[in-house]
Each structure stands twice: as structure tokens, then as C-alpha cells.
């Protein structure tokens, strides 16, 4: 928010809706780790799953739509902004921001959490608990920005490539939901696992639908026919 005031002095006004998105996004993230929902999550698996939907999917999506990197780049002094851009262009960031890497970190991490004993271990170790929740959020954010290009993205991939990876990720999420439904994680009662699995399945679908919609919308805007260009391209094929 401070960055918004700082940079509004020097540039075109930062869009109000982006600040709102950021505010709602961070609220959902905080709601899932602190407060009554987080309290209930310790005893109620459905509440845990709702918290994870907020932390790993909804908050990252809303925050990515707020374009924080764009704001940061225009707020920082030029020298530091250049350094940051250089970092964004670097090889490790290229590997990390590849949709496939992001999917493995995101969906793979979830499979590790729910299909092994990790979920039970998490409730016995504070460090593990904090680490897993940070991972869920960061992996969710990384995945969102690897699919949707809201901020400056130096390493870009085609719509088709991102679409295929997105379908795979959605499938991985859906399969895991049904796996949890059928095979409750250690320490979870069957009826709780069923309710949690269903919430994960349908809740995930809702948020994924928004991501799919935005990806298609970006394609639709980018594929806008320009005067004569379509015919020229066609004839040159």
C-alpha cells in the first residue's frame, strides 16, 4: 500500500482495483493461517481444506492479478529496479517459472502432503507446519504466475503449452481430491475425508475455471484480427 502512495506521486495513478485485489488476496491468506478458520482447521478437516483453497489458490490468484511486480518495479529506484529485472531474467528464475516446474512444486507438494504421512507429521511439528503453509502459498503463487502473465514475464511460453500444463495440473488436483475421498490421510475419519475431498474437488474447479477463463481471454485479446494481417498470414502459410 505504501508503494502505491510512493509511486502515484511519480507515475500514472496505480489502478484502484489492483489495490483492492491485493487487499482481498492478503486477507484470504491471513484468514487461512490465523483466526477462527485456522483454529478449526486443527480439528476439522473440511475447515483445513477450505483454508488450503484460500491459501494455495484463491489468495495467490487475487494477489497475482494485483500485479505486485509491476508496482514494485515502478516504485523502486531505477538502479534497484534494473537489478531486479536482471534477476527475473536469470536462468534459475527461468527454470522455476516454467509451468511444468511450478506444477510439480504445487501439485506434487500436495500429493506428498496428503498421500504420505506428512499430513500427520505436520500436526506434531511447528516448524514443519509453518514450512508447509509457506510452501503451499508460494507454490500456488508461482503456479498462478507461470500460467497467467499479469506482471512482466521475461520467460514466456505459448498459450497451447500453458493450456496443456494447466489441464494436467487441474487433473492432478481433481485426482488427488478423489484419492483423499477414498483413502483418508492418517488420523482423519472417513466422513471428514469425504467432505474435505469433495470441497477440494469442487472448490478447486471454481478457482481453476477463473484461471482458464483468464488464460483464454488473454489469447482472445492477443489473437485480435488486425487489418488485413489475417489474410496476409493465411496466404503466406
Amino acid at each position: 500500500m505504501g508503494a502505491v502512495f510512493l509511486s502515484n506521486g511519480r507515475h500514472r495513478r496505480w489502478p484502484f482495483y489492483r489495490s483492492v485485489l491485493w487487499g482481498i488476496g492478503t486477507s484470504f491468506a491471513i484468514l487461512s493461517v490465523a483466526g477462527p478458520l485456522a483454529e478449526r482447521a486443527h480439528v476439522d478437516f473440511t475447515a483445513h481444506m477450505l483454508g488450503h483453497l484460500f491459501l494455495g489458490m484463491l489468495a495467490p490468484l487475487l494477489m497475482a492479478l494485483a500485479a505486485p511486480m509491476t508496482l514494485l518495479l515502478r516504485t523502486l529506484p531505477v538502479k534497484n529496479a534494473r537489478r531486479l529485472t536482471k534477476l527475473l531474467r536469470s536462468k534459475p528464475v527461468r527454470v522455476l517459472s516454467n509451468p511444468i516446474t511450478a506444477t510439480i512444486l504445487n501439485i506434487g507438494g500436495l500429493w506428498l502432503l496428503y498421500a504420505t504421512d506428512l499430513y500427520m507429521l505436520m500436526h506434531h511439528s511447528l516448524i514443519l507446519h509453518v514450512f508447509i503453509h509457506i510452501h503451499v502459498f508460494l507454490a500456488g503463487y508461482l503456479f498462478t504466475i507461470s500460467i497467467l502473465y499479469i506482471d512482466p514475464t521475461p520467460h514466456r511460453h505459448s498459450y497451447l503449452y500453458r493450456g496443456i500444463v494447466l489441464v494436467t495440473a487441474v487433473a492432478g488436483h481433481g485426482i488427488l481430491s478423489k484419492y483423499i475421498y477414498a483413502n483418508p490421510p492418517a488420523g482423519i475419519a472417513a466422513d471428514q475425508a469425504q467432505a474435505g475431498g469433495k470441497l477440494m474437488y469442487y472448490g478447486g474447479d471454481m478457482i481453476d475455471a477463473v484461471i482458464i477463463f483468464l488464460l483464454c481471454l488473454h489469447w482472445y485479446q492477443a489473437a485480435r484480427p488486425r487489418k488485413n494481417a489475417a489474410q496476409v498470414t493465411w496466404q503466406n502459410r
Binding site: 493450456g163 481433481g174 484419492y179 482458464i212 483464454c216
Partner: protein
């Protein structure tokens, strides 16, 4: 104009329809048979691992296809290249294909879940799969007809003198 713009987008009309049809029937399946009638089960104890994977991928793909297919439709419209008959043929083909796959491979082969429980399942299976085949055939007929209308079979040969 509309006819002139159709040809380059001949294939896209078909694909937009197929994708949307696939998504439509999957959405219908979810809304009516899972949610409203409660006939289908979210998970059936006989579900195989392959069934889970197949269902997951088809579900994800159909979710994407519904939205993507509609954006393609909007794209064809703004290019004045929409060919409604051919698009409709694609929709029927996609619907028929998905329902047939769901009714044979997913319900029967992979035992994902049945159409309804505690009833004689045969009439349900027959109605399900015969409807699928009828939609598939109707779609194919429309597609062959529009193909004939397009003349050269739709594919413009860049080396021809036409």
C-alpha cells in the same frame, strides 16, 4: 464476405464445436446426474486406478474445453468466419464422443461408477449409449454435408492454381 472468410477457418469451426460439445455434455453430466438426480456417485468403491486418472483428465480437459470452445466461437464471430451449421455438427460430434466414451470405457471398462444404483442397469446403459451413437452419427452427417458444400474438402492446397 461471410462465405469468403469461412474457408480459412473451416477447421476452427469444427474444433470450436467439438470442444464445446465435449464440455457441454460433461457439464450436463455433472449438473444433472451427479448434483440434481444424485444417480452418479462421486466415487465408487469399484473404481480402478486407471479410472481415477481417466476421469481426472477428462474432467479437467472438458472444463477447459467448454471455456476455450466458447472463446473460439467468439473469435470466429468477430472474424465473420462463423459457420453455424458446421459448428453445430462439431458440437454433436463432441457430445456423442464424450458420452460414448463415458458410457463404455469409464462406466463399464474402468468401473468408474454406474449410471444409477439398485436398479436394473441394462436399460439405462442402452439409452445412454444409443443416444451417444445417435448424436455422433447426426454430427458426422452434418460435417460431411458442410464439407461437400465447402467444395475442395475444406483444405486449401497452397500449390494449386485455383
Amino acid at each position: 464476405m461471410a462465405n469468403g472468410a469461412r474457408k480459412p477457418y473451416y477447421a476452427r469451426n469444427l474444433w470450436s464445436g467439438v470442444l464445446f460439445g465435449l464440455g457441454l455434455v460433461a457439464f450436463f453430466d455433472e449438473a444433472v446426474f451427479h448434483q440434481l438426480l444424485n444417480w452418479h456417485h462421486f466415487y465408487d468403491k469399484s473404481t480402478t486406478r486407471m479410472g481415477l486418472v481417466s476421469d481426472g483428465f477428462f474432467h479437467a480437459f472438458s472444463w477447459f474445453a467448454t471455456i476455450g470452445g466458447l472463446f473460439m466461437y467468439a473469435d470466429l464471430r468477430r472474424r465473420q468466419a462463423l459457420w453455424k451449421t458446421r459448428w453445430l455438427g462439431g458440437v454433436l460430434l463432441g457430445m456423442g464422443f464424450f458420452q460414448l466414451y463415458d458410457g463404455t470405457v469409464q462406466h463399464k471398462l474402468l468401473q468408474l461408477h454406474q449410471i444409477r444404483y439398485n436398479v436394473n442397469i441394462l436399460p439405462y446403459d442402452l439409452v445412454w449409449n444409443i443416444t451417444a451413437i445417435l448424436m455422433f452419427i447426426a454430427g458426422s452427417v452434418i460435417l460431411f454435408k458442410t464439407r461437400r458444400q465447402a467444395g475442395t474438402g475444406g483444405v486449401t492446397n497452397p500449390l494449386s492454381n485455383e
